[in-house]
Point group: C2
Chain length 285, copies 2
DNA sequence: CTTTAATATGTAGTAAAATTACGTAAATTA
DNA sequence: TAATTTACGTAATTTTACTACATATTAAAG
């Protein structure tokens, strides 16, 4: 199990801290990286408190002591949401915006990893296993996610298709029936067309799975929703991370389905892999 | 700048270490997480060497001393490649395969972040900026990546299209000319059709950009190649990470192009964003 | 095969760091 | 205002890490 980012925890707890603890917190938050490599003495001095105060502070946040606290802090800095400004700046060079964008994606994924509901994943896998037919729907950026999903689920030897055309989606939704699964992908969950399509499908007794934002109109309409709270995009230069998250969640679902199918299914996957070989140049290894 | 993962560094250095250093390395590598929270004394005991040997070991890897080493190790563990077996197991539960898949994706991205050539990114951005027209080509899984790229580059107010149909690709490639950029996406870089298409485009004087594996036939054919060495997929249950990597790299390129266009271009982006508003249900916030 | 030099490893002492126990001060409540 | 709780610091203790030095091991040269 992954724990939440220490820096966020401290920030959240800030109002409930007492005088000296607040002093310590401020010093740590002002430069967390420096804190990880300083001694308890120097930190106490900087915060103008005594050494035991720092120690107590650490224990308050479930650390065994100061060294353990530093360790946890260091891990937070490396993996978690970067505390410092990680937004792309108008005068950033390649060498600075490249890691920023990748880091930001990594952070989002780490967030999803810690927050995603395993129960829901299981429910969705259930529905997908039972499906006689699967339709993946998405518009705009989610269209390519749907397309990717089609590609992946094709391997399961059952009728799959993806559609990024509203009219087509409407028609399919209205002709759907029990046994059909409509997998609707939408970042916001508030695109009218998409919500309507989900409603139509639902009315016809089909299963509707949503990969979308929590508490959105689309989420309300679905049989099961895999909701992901991808932080909103504030920076003009920062790309939308939700597509990536959706793709990775679909990876998870694919794996879930594969595992449920059991080991007897593996030869089939191999066959598909092999079928592609003649289209490729041999590797010189 | 990101430094390389400490665990990898130690693994690589393993053959060049002397007896006691090897012992220390083995103990650390066998359970890096435990190492981060143990004292120099207990580690020395476990490795059956003296404390100074451990200390010397740390200094060899550019740490100030043992505590500093632990810190760096902790950071490596948090961000970098998980060392322990992170493969999906046939009897994994949702709660175990979900983080495994996400972690694996994160690790791959971290690797790309540290290895990607900024010079190449710059070169590709150059070409894209100069393009009169951009075609994104991909087959299979790369088809959806191409589609996503089209979606993103559409915002730049220049003719873009994506194609996952071989015949269409051939025709377009053969009618291309200077000023046209063909952006070819392929995981392996060895699909014959794709390589041929690249060759045709190249012969006609078009610029061909490859987002593919290094040292592949496709890479050889391109004007510029953004090569990514995504580790090969060994596990049957593990999804292919290259699609994700390609998407993120396209995010980077989009940002690169946006920045080059300068701040005058931002209002245009806003306009596109606003155009979608009427299609959405209002948020209740 | 010995001698010499270099490298590798360990011992013991020293310094630094962290933790604990305890006492005093401040704040809260009755 | 007294009693009680909570907050904080001092000083002693313990743990931890580091340094200087000595011994052992290995490699090289005679």
């Amino acid at each position: 199990m992954h724990s939440q980012n220490l820096i966020n925890v401290i920030t959240d707890a800030l109002p409930s801290l007492n005088k000296s603890e607040t002093k310590v917190a401020r010093v740590i938050l002002s430069d967390p990286d420096a804190a990880t490599s300083s001694s308890i003495a120097s930190l106490a001095k900087k915060a103008e408190v005594s050494e035991p105060s720092v120690n107590r502070f650490c224990k308050r946040f479930n650390a065994a002591g100061f060294p353990d606290f530093k360790l946890k802090l260091a891990k937070s800095l490396a993996s978690g949401i970067r505390f410092v400004n990680r937004n792309v700046d108008p005068d950033d060079e390649v060498s600075s915006y490249t890691p920023k964008i990748i880091d930001s994606t990594i952070n989002t994924l780490a967030l999803v990893r810690d927050k995603i509901s395993h129960m829901r994943v299981n429910q969705v896998v259930d529905k997908l296993i039972q499906a006689k037919r699967i339709y993946f729907f998405g518009l705009g950026a989610s269209g390519s996610v749907a397309k990717d999903a089609e590609n992946k689920f094709f391997r399961f030897n059952l009728p799959v298709s993806s559609h990024d055309d509203v009219l087509m989606q409407r028609m399919l939704a209205s002709t759907g029936s029990t046994g059909d699964v409509f997998f609707v992908i939408s970042h916001t969950g508030r695109t009218k067309e998409v919500v309507e399509v989900a409603e139509i499908a639902r009315r016809n007794g089909s299963t509707v799975i949503g990969l979308t934002a929590a508490d959105s109109p689309l989420a309300d309409m679905c049989s099961v929703t895999l909701d992901v709270d991808v932080p909103e995009n504030t920076d003009e230069y920062m790309p939308m991370a939700s597509r990536i998250v959706h793709l990775v969640i679909l990876d998870v679902l694919t794996t879930g389905v594969t595992l449920r199918r059991g080991p007897d299914f593996l030869p089939h996957l191999e066959k598909i892999k092999d079928s592609l070989k003649p289209t490729r140049y041999k590797s010189e290894s």
